[in-house]
Symmetry: C2
Subunit: 180 residues, 2 copies
């Protein structure tokens, strides 16, 4: 999904994948001119489980991938923000929701795509939404109304399953999940 | 700490920082030739709190920054691994410890440097260590022996404080911390 590094971001010269001279055990993209080492690391996707009574807020995606599928509000964490700030920002951008942030609910590693997804609970303070351009529709769903076959991402499905299971027992935990 | 992007990683042409045409609200490094958009996002640092009875394992750093200061085993998460796998790998690399991974203890956002630090509990199964080249010495410390004035990073100090506080009440929580 990410393009390989071909050129140095500092000087533009071509890179070669090789072991850096600092004892590193992995091949990195090293500039053949200025020797800058370019690291590639996993990305965080941060979002929320916004709830209103016994319902949760889902957003119908207006962007690829998974156009038209339902998701929790979430997106790539940006520089200059905390995980909770990023999760809140995405909830505003994608759903136009008003809410109070609560605790972390899930942290899901997806090594296959080099991502970590983190979802926080968010208590909605209004059932009016104002979705942004990335969302076709934002709607509340009770557990038996969730469109399980049209959920955009496995991390969202796994998070929703844990949300409803925890709610039944009346106590929310932080769930650490590895997804193959 | 990270150098700004000057050249396109795909074609090597100079980039310009500007709003991409896709509705993005942040300026990105966009290639002036092939229009590739280059994103920069926070990095995850993953590690453990390795414990043995009432003691925790700290490593004296043999690398900059903070050479000679004490830290928990931790390092940058790599592509192709989960957060827990990365934390375990760093614990092997830096301390040569043998242990069983347990639950997540802390997740600390450090927006100023674009990092998220995650620490897992790790139950040591031996008190013999074999530190790697990044570590001068690996040693067990009881709470009243911790060299608080010589801890390398604030995220490590905050994590150790929460570890000992939780241990006193006999129950470990997941601590979400924002560090200015």
């Amino acid at each position: 999904m990410r393009q390989p590094i071909k050129h140095c971001r500092s000087c533009g010269t071509e890179v070669a994948y090789r072991l850096p001279p600092d004892g590193d055990t992995r091949e990195r993209a090293v500039c053949t001119a200025c020797e800058t080492i370019h690291y590639e690391n996993p990305l965080n996707v941060v979002g929320t489980v916004p709830y209103w009574g016994d319902k949760v807020l889902l957003c119908k995606r207006n962007i690829e991938p998974r156009w038209g599928k339902w998701t929790l509000p979430a997106g790539f964490m940006e520089l200059g923000e905390s995980v909770a700030q990023g999760a809140a920002r995405e909830t505003v951008e994608e759903a136009g929701a008003t809410f109070e942030m609560e605790g972390l609910l899930s942290i899901l590693s997806v090594p296959r795509v080099g991502q970590v997804h983190l979802f926080f609970l968010a208590r909605l303070t209004s059932e009016r939404f104002d979705p942004g351009h990335e969302t076709i529709e934002a709607r509340l769903f009770a557990e038996d109304e969730i469109p399980w076959d049209d959920i955009a991402f496995r991390t969202v499905r796994e998070t929703l399953e844990r949300y409803f299971a925890d709610r039944k027992v009346g106590r929310f935990n932080v769930h650490t999940v590895d997804i193959d």
